[in-house]
């Protein structure tokens, strides 16, 4: 019987948490299509991570491994080869996972080789072949139907719950296949090291915009962030200006986030920024311009300069925590 196959990413022998919403989306597709859910772990030595994942089970029938020296570090070329091989070997007809930069790179390539459609950034599973996805910077929701025996999907991480452990399932190895980088070489990844939670995982996010003027001023936002145990974010204008690293950008072309609490400080609220944070539960905007569009989505809007508002807010929170 054909299967729903989720491609997982791992680090340090564990599943990367951002993959968990992708499993939930796949489980919904599995329910809607009546196909069993299977998980796939790729890597040079995927066994330890696969064992850990299989111990949790996540509602899958089995966890499969595909090992190969060219699968680490990640390249879209080798991963696409491996995904195609695994899909064929296992008889998978629905293939996907969370819309991370990894799967957004590899899955369309694999889909093209299999001549299959790919539905990107699914936010809702309507039926076994129809999915809701945001378009035009989140200003519209499109229902997309696929007419194909095999299709791919990526799930928007903020729109599905994290899959929960359900109980141990078996691990099975898929025989190795040629996975080839086509001459591409990954020379390294400059990671933004941070002791703060990942933007996509954080419960609180404090974002700064162009109005912060320079990187040094983000220190103040970091104080607020750390008091609340949150993550730091930014608008494109702030990242482009080099105030903070590019991977802190929130928006249509940055991270899509939906924390419990989102602070937009000195951010005007362009639609491309809103596209990335509109799903937040509570939005606070601090901006000196009362007409700034960010106030239209803010639950609490404060017209003020950050120079005055943020230090006072930090003081008040400190006092409360101290109490």
């Amino acid at each position: 019987m054909s299967k729903v196959l989720v491609i997982l990413e791992t680090a340090g022998g564990q599943i990367r948490p951002h993959c968990l919403p992708g499993i939930t989306c796949a489980a919904e597709i599995a329910r809607a299509t009546g196909k069993p859910l299977h998980l796939l772990v790729l890597g040079a030595q995927p066994d330890a991570a696969a064992q850990a994942i299989a111990a949790a089970g996540y509602g899958a029938a089995a966890v499969h491994t595909l090992a190969g020296p060219t699968l680490e570090p990640f390249t879209a070329e080798a991963w696409s080869d491996a995904i195609i091989h695994a899909a064929r070997t296992l008889g998978a007809s629905v293939i996907g996972g969370t819309a991370s930069s990894t799967l957004r790179d590899a899955l369309p390539r694999a889909a093209a080789v299999l001549d299959a459609p790919l539905v990107s950034e699914v936010v809702k599973v309507k039926s076994g072949d129809t999915f809701v996805r945001p378009i035009s910077a989140g200003r519209a929701l499109q229902d997309q139907k696929v007419n194909a025996g095999t299709f791919f999907f990526t799930a928007r991480g903020t729109e599905f719950e994290h899959a929960q452990p359900t109980g141990a399932v078996p691990v099975q190895a898929v025989a190795a296949a040629a996975a080839n980088t086509r001459g591409a070489v990954v020379q390294g990844v400059q990671k933004t090291e941070s002791s703060r939670p990942q933007l996509t995982e954080a419960k609180v996010i404090v974002s700064g915009g162009r109005g912060m003027r320079e990187g040094a001023n983000f220190k103040l936002l970091e104080q607020l962030t750390d008091l609340l145990g949150g993550a730091l974010g930014a608008s494109r204008a702030a990242t482009d200006a080099g105030m903070v690293p590019a991977d802190l950008q929130v928006g249509q072309t940055g991270k899509i986030v939906a924390p419990e609490l989102y602070f937009a400080v000195a951010i005007s609220g362009a639609i491309q920024h809103l596209a990335g944070m509109k799903g937040s539960k509570t939005i606070v905007a601090i901006n000196k311009d009362a007409e700034a569009p960010i106030f239209q989505v803010a639950d609490y809007g404060l017209v003020a300069k950050w120079e005055e508002a943020v230090p006072r807010l930090v003081e008040l929170i400190k006092a409360r925590k101290g109490a």
Binding site: V189, Y300, E308
Partner: protein
């Protein structure tokens, strides 16, 4: 070296959307090039030109898949400095993403191009998949979400800084290859071609067409092809069956002071 650049025309993203009959009504829309494709052409031009010299290192061809009326957006890119254009004339409503990708791959092969530069995302339908698909169809390496590109002419390779979720990955790809570009590719020092002095700082953002460029663009050749000329069958394995406005956020409130904000966050929203 031959660089093929994709241009897709999209309804102006600054216009508000008109919902009608379970779809979007674009009949009165102003059409503009997709912003990421403007970044793609800027990248190609920076690779092709030698600042301070007259020599050209590459031919830059712009390619649009869609109605012939998109010539206007193509001409905009010719005015910026591309050498010639190709339109594959087809009704966009009858083209799925798989077919668009096949058509681009077919033109790449027909032209024996060395490099495809495309945007990382269409701002309208936000597929985020055409360049990766084309790379798969051509079986060549890909560098998606490029924020920097350095061309090693002698080695016929590109070193690309890719914006990934947890930082910047540096990937070296031999040509022929496919690159999709992200926002920061148009910062002043993001593109280096090995001939323009490495210290050269470009303007930020895509260049504006000069008056001379606009005049010259009218004389540059634009070939119009049909999908059948490329041996690609137009199919559709996906279909839009409805469009709706997202639920609106409930109206918020303005607070007058930081103290009031703090009060609301602790007592009303209970998030601190």
């Amino acid at each position: 070296m031959k660089i093929l650049v994709c241009v897709k025309r999209i309804p102006d993203p600054d216009e508000s959307l008109k919902f009608a009959g379970g779809g979007l009504d674009y009949s009165a829309s102003k059409w503009v090039p997709n912003a990421f494709d403007e970044y793609a052409i800027e990248t190609a031009l920076r690779l092709a030109e030698v600042v301070g010299g007259t020599q050209r290192l590459a031919e830059v061809i712009v390619l649009g898949i869609g109605p012939e009326s998109q010539r206007q957006q193509l001409t905009q890119f010719l005015a910026m400095g591309a050498d010639r254009g190709i339109i594959v004339d087809a009704d966009p409503d009858k083209l799925d993403t798989a077919t668009v990708s096949k058509l681009i791959a077919a033109v790449f092969k027909k032209e024996a191009a060395d490099l495809l530069i495309a945007g990382k995302l269409s701002q309208d339908n936000e597929g985020g998949q055409v360049p990766q698909r084309v790379a798969g169809l051509l079986d060549v390496p890909q560098a998606s979400f490029a924020a920097t590109v350095e061309w090693d002419q002698a080695a016929k390779a590109l070193t690309v800084g890719r914006e990934v979720d947890d930082g910047v990955e540096v990937k070296r790809v031999p040509l022929p290859a496919v690159v999709s570009v992200d926002l920061r590719i148009v910062l002043p020092k993001s593109v280096k071609n090995g001939s323009t002095p490495a210290t050269h700082a470009y303007q930020e953002g895509p260049r504006l067409a000069s008056l001379k460029g606009i005049t010259m663009a009218k004389r540059k050749p634009v070939a119009v092809l049909k999908p059948s000329d490329l041996g690609v069958a137009v199919g559709t394995n996906e279909q839009v069956v409805g469009v709706a406005a997202p639920p609106a956020r409930k109206a918020g409130q303005k607070v007058k002071t930081v103290e009031e904000l703090f009060e609301k966050l602790t007592k009303e929203a209970k998030v601190i």
